[in-house]
């Protein structure tokens, strides 16, 4: 099972990526779509494939991988299966940045205003975490600081909604916060991918350290792990990938929590193997969910974040139920 999981995951992601390219309201044929995408034949079809579906599929891939990978890293670092990437406050501050740009009208001034504001929000949370948890603070200080930052950013977001001048502005913010990959362009891809790439490289390189942490902080340090360095790699890596994801897709919940859970037994629980597996699993889950929102309710603009939470939350309840039975 363990060896066989890699080709299986890769194949799953590849199939879902292709499906994401080929499924849509335009109802294009398989050959026609691919010819348009690769060779640029047929003007309208080229536009649909290269400007609408390709960025959407690429972002599904990147955002999903970011969420899965950072979830696995955060769970490995905190040695807690309930940890998720939002725990250090990056998601909420990035969302706050985006919401502020919508509220102030900055988002309407140029295409990248909103994602850039979200990235600035993510950077702010890293600064705050650095200040509050200190360079040598433990995991507990990190979690508490993250919770405080999340609460603060959440309150600020609510305040913006509260003071919103008209219901349409509030509606726009609420819809954005539900998370979606619809109507994104290649510009979004070019903005998000460098951050996701840098963050992923940071997170993937923590594998050995996270393996050692399986035995606790004292043992890991006695085996030569630099705990302070590892902590900053996790915080910065998560801020890069989650900041970029929220910037282009909004808040997509539960992927970072559920995917590492699902794959942990399959890869033999070792964090260094779970990291890449969760990246693939996260990509598969977001691609699948993004296909589902198009297929299930093509006319309703069902939001991606709504679907992942709708599927993720019951699954999470099931996990808690199982855990309860094991502990009892």
């Amino acid at each position: 099972m363990r060896r066989g999981i890699w080709p299986l995951l890769i194949a799953l992601v590849a199939v879902l990526f292709m499906a994401s390219l080929l499924i849509g309201p335009a109802g294009l044929g398989l050959g026609q779509s691919l010819r348009a995408l690769i060779q640029g034949q047929g003007e309208a079809v080229v536009l649909v494939m290269r400007e609408i579906r390709l960025p959407r599929a690429l972002l599904g891939l990147g955002v999903g991988a970011a969420l899965g990978l950072s979830g696995a890293a955060m769970q490995g670092f905190l040695r807690n299966p309930l940890a998720e990437p939002g725990l250090i406050g990056v998601s909420s501050t990035a969302a706050l940045g985006a919401v502020l740009s919508l509220q102030t009208g900055l988002a309407a001034t140029f295409a990248l205003a909103l994602p850039l504001a979200a990235l600035a929000g993510a950077a702010l949370s890293v600064l705050l975490i650095m200040l509050m948890a200190g360079p040598r603070g433990g995991a507990l200080a990190l979690i508490l600081a993250g919770i405080a930052i999340s609460a603060l950013a959440g309150a600020a977001t609510s305040l913006v909604l509260n003071l919103s001048p008209n219901p349409f502005a509030a509606m726009e913010i609420v819809f954005w916060m539900m998370g979606s990959l619809a109507d994104r362009s290649m510009t979004h891809v070019w903005l998000a991918f460098p951050f996701i790439a840098i963050g992923s490289a940071l997170l993937l390189s923590t594998g050995r350290g996270l393996d050692a942490l399986t035995l606790g902080e004292d043992v890991a340090q006695s085996m030569g792990l630099n705990l302070v360095r590892l902590r900053w790699m996790i915080v910065l890596g998560t801020a890069f990938v989650i900041g970029a994801s929220v910037a282009v897709a909004g808040a997509v919940g539960f992927v970072g929590l559920v995917v590492p859970h699902l794959l942990r037994p399959v890869v033999g629980a070792r964090p260094s193997r779970l990291l890449p597996a969760s990246a693939l699993g996260g990509a598969a889950m977001v691609l699948a969910a993004d296909i589902a929102v198009r297929v299930v309710a093509p006319d309703q603009d069902l939001k991606l974040g709504v679907l992942t939470a709708l599927v993720g939350a019951p699954f999470f309840l099931h996990l808690i139920w199982r855990m309860r039975r094991v502990e009892a």
Binding site: R79, T214, M223
Partner: protein, 240 residues
């Protein structure tokens, strides 16, 4: 050759010293039992030796770069944490010194048949053996073990102490905090007694476990005897 060298090591928690001006040298070939009642400072002393907590005074190990230190000393902490259900063989191999070291360590702790079992599915005592094996697999000249015998069945307790004796006779050094005075008397080459953060006695087992030390530090009395299986010490009664 001295493997551990502490000079005036002091650890404070607030104003109060938890480890108070401890100087200690451990040489190759020694199996040192670190004794003392609860709260005497044994765990703090071991962690400070490695530089895991801030301290005053000197430890030859705490100043080393992390990677170099990992080759000089292995540490088995008191808290037994195994966060994920990883296979026993992989867990022991985390020590990072190759398959040979892993196999030898697992054989020493009688774990050869456990290789593919999930570590978190084992009993507490079995997990303790896995963690001891992990420390052995680091293949270092010095091992610091914090209550390695706690929660082990008699067979595993004796096996662990014998493994430590073997390490000492191979020319390595072992420092292990122990609560079982009988086990310490039987297996250690040297005992170090701590009370309220200070070293109060240091020497051969028979000398350290004197009537006065036992009464003053532990508040117990017991008896020593020579048996065909070796020296025996048994604490018998509470004095205070």
């Amino acid at each position: 050759m001295s493997l551990l060298h502490l000079t005036n090591l002091t650890v404070r928690r607030g104003e109060c010293p938890v480890v108070d001006d401890v100087s200690l040298t451990v040489k190759a070939g020694e199996f040192v039992g670190l004794l003392g009642p609860n709260g005497a400072g044994k765990t703090t002393l071991l962690r400070a030796c490695l530089g895991l907590i801030p301290h005053e005074g000197k430890s030859n190990l705490s100043a080393l770069p992390a990677r170099t230190r990992a080759r000089a000393v292995a540490f088995l902490p008191q808290g037994r944490e195994i966060a994920w259900p990883v296979a026993v063989g992989e867990l022991v191999a985390l020590a990072g010194r190759g398959q040979g070291a892993t196999d030898r360590a697992m054989a020493r702790m009688g774990l050869a048949a456990y290789r593919d079992r999930s570590a978190t599915a084992l009993s507490g005592g079995e997990q303790a053996r896995v963690l001891i094996a992990r420390a052995l697999a680091q293949d270092t000249p010095l091992l610091l073990a914090d209550e390695p015998a706690a929660g082990l069945d008699p067979e595993a307790q004796i096996r662990t102490c014998k493994v430590f004796q073997d390490l000492a006779s191979e020319g390595r050094g072992v420092v292990a905090s122990l609560h079982d005075l009988g086990l310490a008397a039987r297996h250690c080459t040297r005992l170090v007694l701590m009370a309220r953060g200070r070293l109060v006695a240091d020497g051969p087992p028979r000398e350290v476990l004197s009537e006065t030390n036992l009464a003053e530090v532990f508040g117990v009395r017991g008896f020593h005897a020579e048996t065909p299986l070796g020296p025996v010490f048994q604490p018998m009664d509470v004095i205070r």
